[in-house]
């Protein structure tokens, strides 16, 4: 139910109404409203109950285990939130002079430096506001680099078939043709196919490592050599950086540009679609093309660098500093962790994933790549279960909701039939993982003993199965008041 549907004419929340009306003299008559705006009319208690109820229906990392593969739903430490909400940060105006925002700029500068160090890159720009925007910036810089050298014959970007859909979409947005290369049976990029695909037409390669299959590309060094030898550049999709944080640097693997999802690896909130943040790191040869602004430290003072200092910049892609509040949270997170803590993030992310994978295998689930160690996530395939019981990955996912767990990612990556992509993240305890395994085991038993119970799940959630097909076919996002 929407707050508008609680509305009754004349109902008011007097104690929170403004004490005085705003001064409106001087507004031209033709700009004045003739009728009052259609706002919900509710009492204070109605409003409190409405939003409290909504929050209770919400499924969040604060309430339940959330093993949503590829999304890295780790706990968001409260300290990051409370420190980022200091009045001095909140009240800062983005257009205030640099001299009055030195504290904020210092945080941004230090975050740039830390991310440079973690990724092994020569420069970092913090402003991209989501992974997809980070990718767009990265490939735009690759294009700008080739163009600056008069190298205009490069028309193709190579993307492995296991990639996130945003990778090929980005390449197309930047005017490139996408060349897809297959994955071998162990989940690595098919090296023969890569060798056959590269040439003078290759602008670059986009790679997610560890891949969406939850494995670290064994041949990454050779891949980077093959692409560089033909004059292409290498883009690192940092979506799965959590698994290697502080352990391996994409710069050392030979990559020229990387985006980092702060809302995954650096623990900033990312429920409900945002706000995301995806800083981009670049190797020395791409430094001249960085988007603006970037924070610089000169003579003890922090300042913005703009097109004046970076004349070949691909330009500005977000207002001001991007999602400044998210960047602050990430900065506080990395300072709380320290270098030692970052290593432990990667270690525990890998340990938790491998423990969960082993326990689910013992419980009777089929692992898609049983010969590989999981990086930070892994894939279970329910193909055989579907054949023997008719219970699908979708059904198991829905039944998990009844057991109090957020479902893992399902039907992605597309390469594995009836798959669940499971990522526990490092912040979960052994007890939580064991309880999840027990729930999965129960569902497996139910699939055999009472398949209809699983096929018709969920049974206990505020809403049952939503008609996602109707929603996609008849997109309707605007609530309209019923006419009397």
């Amino acid at each position: 139910m929407l707050i508008f549907e609680h509305s009754r004419p004349g109902r008011r929340n007097y104690s929170q109404s403004p004490a005085t009306s705003a001064e409106i003299a001087g507004i031209p008559e033709n700009l004045m409203r003739k009728a009052p705006p259609l706002l919900p009319e509710v009492s204070e208690m109605d409003a409190v109950r409405h939003y409290t109820r909504l929050s209770q229906k919400n499924f969040s990392i604060d309430t339940q285990f959330y093993p949503l593969g590829s999304c890295t739903m780790k706990y968001n430490p409260r300290a990051c939130n409370s420190l980022a909400m200091l009045t001095q940060f909140l009240a800062r105006h983005p257009r205030a002079p640099e001299s009055t925002g030195q504290g904020f700029l210092a945080c941004m500068y230090e975050l740039q430096e830390i991310l440079k160090d973690v990724t092994g890159m020569a420069g970092v720009c913090l402003t991209p506001m989501a992974g997809a925007q980070g990718e767009l910036i990265g490939i735009s810089m690759i294009r700008a680099y080739h163009e600056s050298r008069g190298d205009s014959a490069r028309t193709e970007i190579i993307v492995p078939d296991a990639a996130h859909g945003t990778n090929p979409a980005t390449a197309v947005m930047c005017g490139y043709k996408v060349v897809e290369i297959p994955t071998d049976k162990d989940g690595d990029v098919d090296m023969e196919a890569l060798k056959a695909a590269v040439g003078p037409q290759t602008a670059g390669l986009m790679l997610t490592n560890p891949s969406t299959l939850g494995v670290f590309e064994k041949n990454v060094a050779e891949m980077s050599k093959i692409v560089h030898e033909v004059g292409g550049l290498l883009y690192y999709d940092g979506a799965n950086l959590n698994a290697i944080l502080g352990k391996v640097k994409p710069g050392d693997m030979g990559f020229d540009v990387i985006h980092i999802n702060l809302h995954k690896t650096f623990s900033t909130p990312h429920g409900g679609g945002g706000p995301g943040s995806a800083p981009v790191g670049v190797a020395p040869r791409l430094l001249p093309f960085m988007p603006v602004p970037v924070v610089a430290l000169e003579n003890g003072l922090y300042r913005w660098l703009t097109e004046k200092e970076i004349p070949q910049s691909i330009g500005r892609l977000s207002a001001h500093m991007g999602n400044a509040g998210v960047l602050l949270r990430a900065y506080i997170y990395v300072r709380l962790l320290g270098a030692e803590g970052m290593h432990r993030v990667a270690e525990f992310a890998a340990l938790n994933a491998n423990y969960l994978m082993a326990e689910l295998s013992k419980a009777g689930f089929e692992i898609a790549y049983p010969n590989r160690r999981a990086s930070h996530e892994f894939i279970v395939t329910l193909k055989d279960l579907k054949e023997s019981t008719g219970v699908t990955a979708m059904n198991v996912a829905k039944r998990l909701l009844d057991k109090g767990y957020h479902a893992p990612t399902i039907y992605f990556p597309l390469l594995v039939p009836e798959c669940m992509l499971i990522e526990p993240a490092e912040t979960e305890s052994k007890e939580t993982l064991d309880a999840f395994v027990a729930a999965m085991k129960e569902i497996l038993e139910e699939a055999h003993s009472q398949p209809d119970l699983v096929k018709n799940a969920p049974h206990t959630t505020p809403v049952r199965r939503l008609d996602d097909v109707k929603a996609a076919r008849e997109l309707d996002l605007v609530w309209k008041q019923h006419s009397a």
């Binding site: 193909k383 039907y411 597309l414």
Partner: protein, 129 residues
């Protein structure tokens, strides 16, 4: 029956029917629609576009995924199925009557490179389905 005997097939799950007038009708297979699930959007090529064999030329989008459709043979697009824009679910209802587009083949001999019933059946078995 998930495959029809009188059609030609591709590894990427398109079907082709050579019509009496020499044109070719193209759609996606029953197996492909089963894998994709409920269709929500279909994008067809423009009439008049000249396609090369293997070229991406259409998109079928389901609640699960968006997939490219590849031209099984080279030729010029002479018609697209107007029904699919408003009723993409026709592909789910009958994949072999809900055609995507028709081509005037550049070289009808290319049809011989495609899979027949038995060849496509083998591909499906190798996929384990």
């Amino acid at each position: 029956m998930s495959i029809q005997n009188n059609l030609k097939y591709t590894k990427s799950h398109e079907w082709v029917r050579l019509e009496d007038d020499g044109t070719a009708t193209i759609g996606i297979t029953q197996h492909a629609q089963e894998l994709l699930g409920d269709m929500v959007f279909v994008e067809t090529p423009n009439v008049g576009r000249k396609l090369k064999r293997g070229e991406e030329c259409a998109v079928v989008e389901s609640v699960k995924a968006a997939s490219d459709v590849y031209a099984p043979i080279s030729g010029e697009v002479i018609a697209v199925n107007p029904e699919l824009e408003s009723t993409p679910e026709k592909i789910n209802q009958d994949a072999y009557s809900a055609w995507l587009f028709k081509l005037k083949p550049e070289n009808a001999g290319e049809l011989n490179n495609l899979l027949d019933y038995a060849g496509y059946q083998k591909i499906l078995e190798a996929d384990g389905d």
